[in-house]
């Protein structure tokens, strides 16, 4: 993307931000060794093969930006409109590439604006690094201009954070932050860089690959535990594999697929686990949880052995834990020991990398199956039962032609019109659920969303990050009208960088999910959830330099989406959908998964 973005940049942009890297003639008098702490920070990114950085300039981070501009073969930079978006873009970049996404911001408001994005990355265990400027150390604690205790503020939402007050340690610290973010269970790290340290001269360079002392990421699970788990799985009559986001992060989709095929076992994903197994796979029941499919929720409710891989049993998945897979012996594989028995007790704890653990259990079962001559035929009734549930609870929706367009239809048509490897990003709300429910995901890292934190406005900056990460793939962003307005300013970035992304706004003129809950649980009082008036998204898009479209009729859906996808540059489709449409199935918060409601009357 770097080349693309740079060549596509408007002339004024070029002038405003001269970028000399990749141009040998301008690297004349650059010293080979890092000259300042800021140079060391950038050298550490370069040494870690960081290719792109998302950020916003500001006083305390200026030395680092200066070093970025001076660096030979350093990362390219995407200037975002708001730091929150820089964080989301980096987060999405990390989700798509599997390598840490990096963002930069200045001290004070720059850093605090990152906070939502850092918390999002933390909840979803995304590889992510933030570099923040800080006031010079001599002012620290004096409430200096734009001073915030960034390390203190971000401590509970980072995997680890660092105050790099010593220029000689900056290179090593940034190296460690990048390495740690992507090692073991991924997560966000942050390095706070006071301005005096970044401007102090140093000979100390980066230390690529550095990890904290005593940091130990488990690889393989304990053999005895694997043996016992395989034993349990082999004895099970109604086994289910539950694939979480950890399967995606560990690139364990091939191992999962092999396991599911070998033992012919039904597989359910969590929402972050979407794409870890192709949703059109015969055994895939799609995703479970609050708005998951009927079949998935029935299967996890009735299973007697749940092989859960890389999931933290979030409450949106489990509903009330009292009724979550209540008859299941739980085999829990996770790289983070602290997730074991945190929310749901694990009968068998397999602490290790998802790919390695799946293989371990697979091998153990292989040898066992041969020895005992037990084939997967014993699950035949159970598989049939799951198939019946799929048939019983199809993801249908009413779409009378004389009524406003249903959002589900828009999602399905967009899926049809795009290649299988298209990346979908979303904001948070009803549109997110429809995008998850009605798009058929076939590969990992195609579904990029804000799961744990539920950050409205995630979609557009995430689409920017995803496009930078995968410039050759189609990137479709589903947003809601409410969610979109939270980060709409990032359209300026998409236009400036000429990123070929398509935002489909499922516009129901409301904070739809809140309204849905108000209808269900607050006697229909639509407090602060219905707008009554929303801006027109087509001219907004045009004003930002993107291409705008509007559709409000079934006949227009396919053509309009096609035109938007065809447009070479950022486009926005204002899809004016049926505002009465709500998201079902639904398990009420804290409810019983097997009691999912198919309509409001059943809640």
């Amino acid at each position: 993307m770097s080349e693309r973005a740079r060549t596509a940049a408007r002339p004024t942009e070029e002038a405003a931000e001269p970028r000399d890297d990749d141009r040998p003639e301008s690297s004349d008098d650059q010293p080979a060794e890092p000259a300042t702490g800021a140079d060391a920070a950038i050298a550490a990114l370069t040494a870690a093969d960081v290719e792109h950085v998302f950020g916003v300039q500001g006083g305390a981070i200026m030395p680092v930006y200066d070093a970025l501009a001076n660096a030979e073969a350093g990362p390219s930079h995407v200037t975002m409109a708001h730091e929150q978006a820089a964080a989301h873009a980096a987060d999405a970049y990390g989700q798509v590439t599997g390598t840490p996404g990096v963002c930069m911001a200045t001290s004070g408001p720059g850093a605090t604006n990152l906070v939502t994005g850092i918390a999002d990355a933390d909840m979803d265990s995304d590889p992510f690094v933030a570099l923040t400027g800080q006031v010079p150390t001599e002012f620290l604690g004096n409430d200096a201009f734009q001073e915030t205790d960034t390390v203190g503020v971000t401590r509970p939402i980072t995997k680890e954070n660092y105050f790099a007050g010593d220029a000689d340690r900056i290179g090593a610290t940034v190296s460690e932050a990048v390495e740690l973010a992507g090692t073991g269970r991924p997560g966000p790290t942050l390095v706070d860089l006071p301005k005096d340290a970044t401007t102090t001269e140093t000979d100390a360079g980066p230390e690529p690959g550095r990890l904290p002392t005593y940091y130990d990421a488990p690889e393989k699970a304990d053999e005895a535990a694997v043996e016992a788990a395989a034993e349990a799985f082999a004895r099970a009559e109604r086994p289910v594999v539950l694939a979480g986001g950890g399967v995606v992060k560990a690139d364990a989709a091939p191992e999962l697929r092999a396991f599911v095929d070998a033992f012919d076992v039904p597989v359910v994903t969590t929402m972050p686990g979407i794409g870890s197994v192709p949703e059109d796979h015969e055994r895939c029941l799609s995703w479970a949880g609050m708005h998951g499919t009927g079949a998935a929720n029935m299967a996890i409710s009735h299973t007697d052995c749940l092989f859960a891989i890389g999931t933290r049993f979030d409450d949106r998945l489990t509903g009330g834990v009292e009724t979550f897979a209540p008859g299941a012996e739980v085999i829990h594989a996770d790289i983070d020991a602290a997730e074991i028995s945190k929310n749901v007790e694990a009968d068998h704890a397999l602490v290790g990398d998802a790919a390695a653990v799946i293989e371990q259990v697979h091998e153990k079962l292989d040898s066992r199956v041969e020895a005992a001559d037990t084939s997967s035929d014993r699950h035949a009734d159970w598989r049939e039962q799951c198939r019946e549930w799929e048939a019983e609870y199809p993801m249908t929706y009413a779409a009378p032609k004389d009524e406003p367009v249903k959002p589900q239809f828009v999602v399905e048509v967009a899926d049809e019109a795009t290649p299988d490897d298209a990346i979908v990003t979303t904001g948070v709300g009803q549109h997110q659920m429809w995008a998850a429910q009605y798009w058929t995901y076939r590969d990992p890292r195609c579904w990029v969303s804000s799961h744990g934190l539920g950050t409205m406005g995630y979609g557009l900056p995430a689409a920017i990050g995803a496009k930078v990460a995968a410039p050759d793939r189609e990137v479709v962003c589903f947003e809601g009208d409410g969610s979109f307005l939270m980060t709409v300013q990032e359209l300026s970035v998409a236009a400036r960088e000429n990123l070929d992304i398509t935002v489909v706004v499922l516009n129901n003129e409301a904070i739809g999910m809140v309204r849905q809950w108000q209808d269900a649980f607050f006697e229909g009082r639509h407090t602060a959830s219905e707008y009554g008036w929303v801006p027109e998204f087509e001219p907004i898009a045009e004003a930002f330099g993107a291409k705008g479209f509007t559709l409000d009729h079934y006949d227009e859906v396919a053509d309009t989406l096609e035109a938007a996808f065809d447009y070479d540059g950022p486009s926005v489709v204002d899809a004016q959908i049926d505002p009465r449409e709500n998201v079902y199935p639904m398990v009420p918060s804290g409810g019983d998964n097997s009691g999912f409601a198919l309509s409001e009357e059943q809640l």
Binding site: P156, K159, E160, F163, A172, E207, L211, P212, T213, Y214, Y215, D216, D280, M298, H302, T318, V321, F324, P326, G327, D336, A337, A338, S341, K342, N343, V344, E345, E392, Y393, P394, M395, T396, Y397, A398, A399, P400, K401, K406, E412, D415, E416, A417, P419, T440, P471, D472, R473, E474, V475, Y554, E562, D566, Y584, S594, G595, F596, A597, L598, S599
Partner: protein, 268 residues
């Protein structure tokens, strides 16, 4: 991104549509005419489908549906060896507060190794909670090793009390009774020190109440595993490797010190 222009794109689109039709059976019938679809989600409602009879406790433990789930809290001591660096105490304190762990005390202080510090936490949690405290602590990057100490661990607390000096002899006898020490005696106040187990210090404080306690300060519990047992596994490893000389309390083989400041790690 893949641009779709002209005839090639149309052909590609047609192929895509075919694939999808194959993959999704009849599910795409609504594309031809949405008006054919007037029905929303179908299937048996919550009351008409099989529901599992089993249950879990609120802690996610499978239980007998008839029995009441109970995980009684117990008081225990957790020892954590941590890197001696700024921010660790805040990190641990933040963790305890964020995860709502029920904590009675937390102490922190140096160890035989200048690069490490020991934190001792007294917590009151049901069994799943104790394991969570251990694992969440272990997960923090500056935390080296964590262990729950057994019931036989050596535990000590200290209290400093300032009582009125109206009855100095009586104060003196209570101090003796609790093996305490008078730290300061002035007209008006006597300041005494008592150490012991948490319960002993409780009893001592109680006993001094009769004189009127003006001010009181208490430490949390400091604890070590008893006898040859190591308090945390990291120490065991370190000391086994370094063969600490008990007289000098120094490692005989300094080259294996694993926390040389500023050195890149070679631990993988």
């Amino acid at each position: 991104m893949s641009r779709r222009n002209g005839e090639a794109a149309e052909a590609e689109d047609a192929a895509d549509a075919d694939d999808a039709d194959d993959a999704e059976d009849g599910a795409n019938s609504q594309f031809a005419d949405p008006s054919e679809r007037r029905e929303g989600l179908t299937g048996p409602g919550p009351d008409d489908r099989p529901r599992p009879a089993e249950r879990r406790s609120k802690q996610g433990v499978r239980i007998d549906p008839e029995a009441e789930a109970s995980h009684p809290a117990r008081r225990t001591t957790i020892s954590a060896l941590v890197k001696h660096e700024p921010g660790v105490l805040a990190e641990v304190a933040g963790l305890v507060s964020r995860r709502q762990f029920d904590i009675d005390s937390l102490t922190v202080g140096p160890t035989t190794n200048p690069e490490t510090a020991r934190m001792t936490l007294t917590i009151e949690e049901p069994e799943p909670g104790v394991r969570q405290v251990e694992k969440q602590l272990e997960k923090l990057v500056p935390v080296i090793s964590v262990r729950e100490l057994g019931r036989d661990a050596v535990r000590r607390e200290l209290a400093v009390l300032k009582v009125h000096d109206d009855r100095p002899a009586a104060v003196e006898s209570v101090v003796e009774m609790f093996d305490g020490e008078v730290l300061d005696a002035q007209p008006g106040t006597v300041t005494v020190e008592v150490t012991g187990s948490s319960a002993e210090v409780d009893r001592a404080v109680e006993a001094f109440q009769r004189f009127g306690v003006r001010e009181l300060t208490r430490t949390g519990t400091a604890a070590l595993a008893r006898g040859n047992e190591w308090t945390t596994h990291a120490e065991e490893e370190r000391y086994e490797r370094q063969r600490i000389d008990p007289r000098t309390n120094r490692a005989t083989d300094q080259s294996t010190t694993e926390t040389a400041p500023g050195a890149p790690t070679d631990d993988d």
